[in-house]
């Protein structure tokens, strides 16, 4: 129910069109039920021994006008329902994307980005189709069913008794089919996903399959799976295939019944109560009744299937973002000082191990801090707490003397620039990408930032210079170039805190050093935190933090650490002497 309430909230501007659709659909249904009635009249008029041509033409024109009216109603309803359902789905997608933008990474990780995309496209379009069915057919079919039944009983009297037998048979039959078919299909679809997964494995791992000459083995494995699915699918489809004979049985029964009883009544009463026109009309109504039942059962199946999609969509909408803005946020960041107080952190509440534990660290504003340590030692986790990409589990992180959770998130993030380990550029020109840092940056500022990040030279070497288009994922620039552009982008923010998370790994040592020199002269007031693999990148920092297993192993400047930290010394020696000695 919550589900329907939330989705109903997405109707908004679609409401107007939905209501118009309902009005016109009702109109269409009413006209359509009267059509056979008039048609019967027409046939009767023609059947009369001495036909009155004027009467026939009159009824004929009435019929034609009604057909045109029905066309108009149906056409307009088709248009408005398309509009209603499309804007409904647009609103859902809008809400979804907005919601996702508020997500923390914990939330995104929970769903995975590809699943979120599927929910936004396939699932939403299923919901859209269900909505359209709902406002068109789900209204039309029951209406047609009721109208047709009423008309049949009024016109046909005893002839309509056929429905008393046929309708329950059809309803029970359809329900039974749906009852058995749906779980069968659900089970097969599950297996079908597995089959496709194994195809994908083989496509992706084609090199492995070939290098081990496992082609035949994989074929056999796949063959077994495919046969298994065939058996299940066939079973499910066979149940559904009973639909057609059932429907045909009802049609045929109706036909025979009406012909026998109809002809008997017509002859016995010499055409006074029932005549040829009535017989043909009731046959038409019979088809209408059965058809409406059939489409009702189709709607039932469609709706139950789309409920799965609706659930998946609503899961996203109902998800609570793990990060929230405080009630009365602090709107200014005083300076770039950072204090960690007894910080414990884990990525999910369910995780057994802390990613960070017992962190206490004070960084004065304007300092340069180096962080080193193996992957998984907690370097990235440590700095991601500063712009509140994640929240601490225990303890607190303070920036400018204020707990980061008390800041307005936009304010905090506008003062903290972070160049991520996984560098990303977006499709668009280099200029557009750089302006992410500062939308109002002048071209001079862009160039200055690039010069400091040692990117200006290579950007100029491109034929289109700063207007060079970056492809999705930034595949047309090299790793090192991407890193330098990302640094320039961050510099443009002129932040109070600049964090480089292993962002010069693909840049040679000389350029790396030049970039660091640039920082010192261009943004002396900014607190600079540099995570690096190379000791050379952090050697000159005011403070070097050595991370190990989510804890601070040692802290100090280069000389101190060479004395006190075995890890630091080992890494230093490894890197200066070139590798472990065997």
């Amino acid at each position: 129910m919550q589900l329907i309430k939330r989705l109903a909230g997405c109707v908004r501007d679609a409401k107007k069109y939905a209501i118009w659709t309902l009005i016109f659909i009702v109109g269409e249904a009413i006209i359509e039920t009267f059509l056979p009635f008039i048609t019967a009249d027409l046939i009767n008029k023609i059947s009369k021994e001495n036909m009155d041509t004027g009467e026939v033409v009159k009824v004929g024109i009435l019929l034609a006008v009604m057909a045109l009216l029905s066309l108009a109603c149906g056409g307009i309803a088709g248009f408005t329902s398309a509009r209603a359902s499309s804007s409904f789905s647009r609103n859902i997608r809008h809400d979804l994307f907005d919601k996702i933008q508020t997500y923390s990474f914990t939330n995104i990780d929970k769903f995975s980005s590809s699943s979120l995309v599927t929910r936004m496209t396939t699932d939403v379009s299923n919901v859209q189709m269900a909505f359209m069915m709902l406002i068109r057919i789900a209204v039309r079919s029951p209406l047609m069913l009721i109208f047709s039944l009423i008309m049949s009983f009024r016109m046909g009297g005893w002839l309509a008794m056929a429905f008393v037998i046929v309708v329950p048979v059809l309803v029970i039959g359809l329900l039974l089919i749906a009852k058995y078919a749906m779980p069968a299909f659900r089970a097969v679809f599950h297996k079908y996903d597995h089959l496709n997964e194994s195809i994908e494995e083989n496509v992706r791992g084609s090199r492995v399959v070939k290098s081990f000459s496992r082609e035949e083995y994989e074929k056999k494995k796949f063959g077994e799976k495919a046969e298994d699915i065939r058996a299940d699918f066939t079973k499910a489809e066979r149940i559904v295939a009973l639909n057609t004979p059932l429907m045909q049985f009802c049609m045929y029964f109706n036909m025979i019944f009406v012909l026998i009883v109809g002809s008997m009544l017509a002859i016995k009463f010499r055409g006074t109560t029932i005549d040829v026109g009535h017989i043909s009309a009731i046959l038409t109504y019979g088809v209408q009744v059965l058809m409406s039942l059939m489409s009702l059962s189709m709607i039932y199946v469609m709706l139950t299937m789309s409920i799965e999609s609706a659930k998946r969509v609503c899961e996203v909408l109902f998800e609570e973002s793990a990060l929230k803005n405080p009630e009365s946020p602090v709107m200014t960041v005083r300076d770039g000082s950072i204090v960690y107080e007894d910080v414990n952190f884990k990525y999910s509440a369910a995780a057994q191990k802390n990613a960070l534990s017992g962190i206490n660290l004070t960084i004065p504003s304007g300092a340069t801090v180096g962080i080193i340590g193996g992957t998984g030692s907690g370097k990235s986790s440590l700095v991601q707490l500063i712009p509140r990409l994640y929240d601490v589990s225990e303890g607190s992180v303070k920036v400018g003397g204020v707990d980061v959770r008390d800041y307005d998130m936009d304010v905090l993030r506008s003062e903290v620039a972070m160049v991520l380990q996984k560098n990303l550029l977006f499709s668009g020109t280099i200029k557009e990408n750089l302006r992410w840092g500062n939308e109002n940056a002048s071209d001079e500022e862009l160039i200055e930032a690039c010069r400091l990040a040692q990117a200006d030279d290579f950007v100029r070497s491109f034929p289109d210079g700063y207007d060079t288009k970056i492809e999705q994922g930034g595949t047309n620039v090299s790793g090192g170039q991407k890193q330098r552009l990302c640094i320039a982008r961050a510099l443009l923010k002129k932040p109070k805190i600049l964090i480089l998370d292993d962002s010069t790994s693909a840049v040679d040592t000389k350029t790396d050093a030049l970039i660091r020199q640039g920082f010192a002269s261009y943004i002396p007031q900014t607190t600079k935190i540099i995570i690096a693999q190379r000791i050379a990148s952090v050697q000159e920092a005011d403070l070097i933090v050595v991370m190990e297993n989510g804890q601070i192993h040692a802290c100090g400047n280069h000389e101190e650490l060479m004395q006190t930290s075995t890890i630091y010394r080992e890494v230093y020696e490894q890197q200066t002497n070139g590798g472990v000695k065997a």
Partner: protein
């Protein structure tokens, strides 16, 4: 026969029937439909024709009630005057009874047909899937390198789905509707040629309108698909870059960008659906209007007693006995014509899907005309080698010669590349004059920037690609003469991107050697240092992996891949070391595993770690497909060239 390796830039998929069908919007190709039907008959030589016959029979029986209706109406009119039901029933009831028995038969045949079609459809799809998969397994690596994986997947999902539509719906409906249309047309002509002509004119008009409206719908549906794709792309990009978006506080701009695409999608969506929704009412009511037209014209003809023209001249004038059944046939005729025209659209779509599937099936499989095979062998005291039926642990190349003699060469792992040139695409040579010699047990390291050609060299040794010029010899035998499966069996490979398969850890290790016992697999895991973490997992070696081993860390997955290569125990190994991104500790463990694996084997390693490089017998420094420096570590350091710069960190590879 010496096979000249060829590498043309022919990336275009081969077309079936040798035709050149352009890569454009769906176009009806009867040849392809014929191929599908031929395959159907091939798979189901009895069942498929039987179900088609059933369809035809049902169609005829559903077309003829009109005839009986006419007779019954006539009889009612005759007997209505006297009202004598007792006598009338003697004439009417047999008619109805005959109809009823026809219906019983029709019901039977519908049941048979629908059940058969369900089996045939699924059976056909299963066979298609299997054929596709088997063909795909036989394709060269080049196919996988030059086709997007998403595209290949969509052959198995979307395109197979259109085939399902074709077999289970389009073909039966098409047959049924055509039969009904033809039968009804015949009966109508039997009644009145004039009225039939009137109806045909109306139907032509209807088709015209439906083509217009349907065309509009198709156009917007195509645009809709593009819009959905661009929305998908945008959402994916923004989600992958979520951290960047947040760090720069760009949420608002992001949403605006999304709304723009979303609005475009909306306008395509409602247009496409509006056209599609309007088609139904339009067609139906045009049908109604035609109904009126037939009634009026028929009525007028009856009143004026105009001369009727009918097939065989059965009905010289138009009467009620003609008009009533004719009217009911009008509905049937227009309804079926309408369904036919819809099916044509859907058939065209299915054929487009079938075309892509056939493209995959018609790809030329990886050729293999090697005749040198790997056999179990025993070495006699005199050093002579003889073939053995049982596993001996000693392998030999069995080399049949043209004169009928057979020579055996012990498998040792001596690999020599001589003056090899290679291009993935014609004109773009990526390897120039590369010569590498590796004696059994030697370790050769390749060092160089991305795109320098390191991976390409390894691609050539196991013949994922064939060389353009030069020679590669394995134990003195030209690798072109060796059966590919055996060549690859004699080479182990550990790639940087680890690919594991769904199944248990044990099964994944056994992938290297299907005959390996559990003990042998565990021994391999112990050797490479994977046993330690595996035994600490709750389910140990029986841990189920899914989604490429997503439940393991990258380092752990790599260890499994190394164990997998170890259990295969080949004399030659090709290793692509992982670049950064795994932590130092895991890296050390993985490295140990690699070192254990390398021991006693000829090894080609694409090296990223200085320790690996240093310990190699020969180091090849590659630059733009050329070997620019070669020698041992000490030699190269002394040369003070590129390697020296790399080593001292003055220069970083990208």
């Amino acid at each position: 026969m010496k096979r000249k390796a060829q590498h043309t830039a022919d990336q275009k998929p081969q077309m079936p029937n040798g035709g050149t069908v352009p890569h454009k919007k769906p176009k009806f190709n009867p040849g392809l439909l014929g191929r599908v039907i031929k395959m159907l008959i091939g798979y189901y030589p009895a069942l498929f024709p039987i179900s088609i016959l059933c369809i035809i029979f049902t169609a005829v029986t559903s077309a003829i009630p009109a005839l009986f209706l006419q007779k019954v109406v006539e009889l009612i009119r005759v007997w209505q005057v006297s009202g004598d039901w007792a006598s009338a029933s003697k004439e009417i009831l047999p008619q109805i009874l005959f109809l009823a028995s026809m219906y019983v038969l029709a019901l039977l045949s519908i049941t048979v047909e629908s059940q058969l079609m369900a089996s045939i459809t699924q059976g056909f799809l299963c066979k298609m899937r299997r054929t596709m998969f088997e063909k795909m397994q036989n394709l060269p690596i080049k196919y996988f390198d030059t086709h997007k994986h998403g595209d290949i997947m969509s052959y198995y999902t979307n395109d197979i789905d259109t085939l399902r539509q074709l077999v289970s719906q389009s073909i039966p409906t098409f047959v049924r509707c055509s039969v009904i249309v033809l039968t009804v047309l015949f009966i109508m002509l039997y009644y009145s040629i004039w009225l039939t002509l009137l109806l045909l004119v109306g139907v032509a008009l209807m088709m015209l309108v439906s083509k217009k409206v349907g065309g509009g719908s198709a156009k917007y549906f195509m645009r809709l698909q593009r819009s959905v794709a661009s929305l998908e792309g945008y959402a994916q990009e923004m989600m992958n870059g979520q951290k960047v978006v947040k760090v720069f506080g760009r949420e608002k701009q992001c949403k605006e960008g999304f709304d723009e695409i979303n609005d475009a999608l909306y306008s395509d969506s409602y247009r496409a659906h509006a056209y599609a929704n309007m088609l139904g009412p339009i067609i139906m009511n045009l049908g109604n209007i035609m109904y009126v037209a037939v009634a009026l014209v028929g009525g007028l003809m009856a009143v004026t007693g105009a001369r009727n023209l009918s097939l065989f001249g059965t009905f010289p004038t138009v009467g009620v006995d003609i008009i009533v059944p004719f009217l009911s046939m009008t509905r049937q005729f227009t309804g079926n014509i309408n369904q036919l025209s819809q099916q044509i659209n859907s058939i065209v779509m299915s054929i487009a899907g079938a075309k892509r599937i056939f493209e995959l099936m018609d790809q030329i499989p990886e050729p293999d005309d090697g005749y040198v095979t790997l056999v179990n062998a025993t070495v006699g005291e005199d050093g002579s080698i003889s073939e053995s039926d049982v596993r001996t642990g000693v392998w030999a190349w069995k080399h049949p010669h043209t004169d009928g003699s057979i020579t055996y060469t012990l498998l040792q792992g001596d690999v020599r590349m001589t003056e090899v040139d290679f291009a993935y695409e014609e004109g773009k040579t990526v390897l120039h004059d590369v010569s590498v010699y590796a004696e059994p047990g030697q370790k050769v390291a390749f060092v160089g920037a991305t795109g320098a050609g390191k991976t390409t060299i390894t691609n050539l040794i196991n013949r994922f690609y064939d060389i353009a010029d030069g020679k590669i010899r394995y134990d003195g035998i030209n690798i072109n003469k060796i059966k590919k499966a055996d060549l690859r069996r004699s080479l182990g490979i550990v790639l940087q991107d680890t690919n594991l398969f769904t199944g248990t850890l044990m099964e994944n290790i056994r992938y290297g050697n299907l005959d390996a016992t559990d003990e042998e697999c565990i021994r391999a895991a112990v050797l490479v240092g994977a046993d330690d973490f595996i035994t600490r997992l709750p389910n140990g070696y029986q841990t189920e992996l899914s989604n490429n081993g997503a439940n393991l860390s990258q380092g752990q997955r790599q260890l499994i891949a190394i164990a997998r290569a170890a259990v295969a125990d080949p004399p030659v190994m090709i290793l692509d070391e992982a670049t950064s991104s795994i932590d130092t500790r895991t890296e050390a463990i993985v490295q140990k595993g690699m070192d254990a694996l390398m021991k006693g084997r000829t090894v080609f390693v694409i090296a990223h770690r200085l320790s690996t490089v240093r310990n190699s017998d020969v180091i090849m420094v590659l630059d733009h497909g050329r070997i620019i420096e070669r020698g041992s570590h000490d030699q190269l350091i002394a040369e003070k060239g590129q390697y020296y710069q790399l080593y001292t960190g003055a220069f970083e590879l990208e």
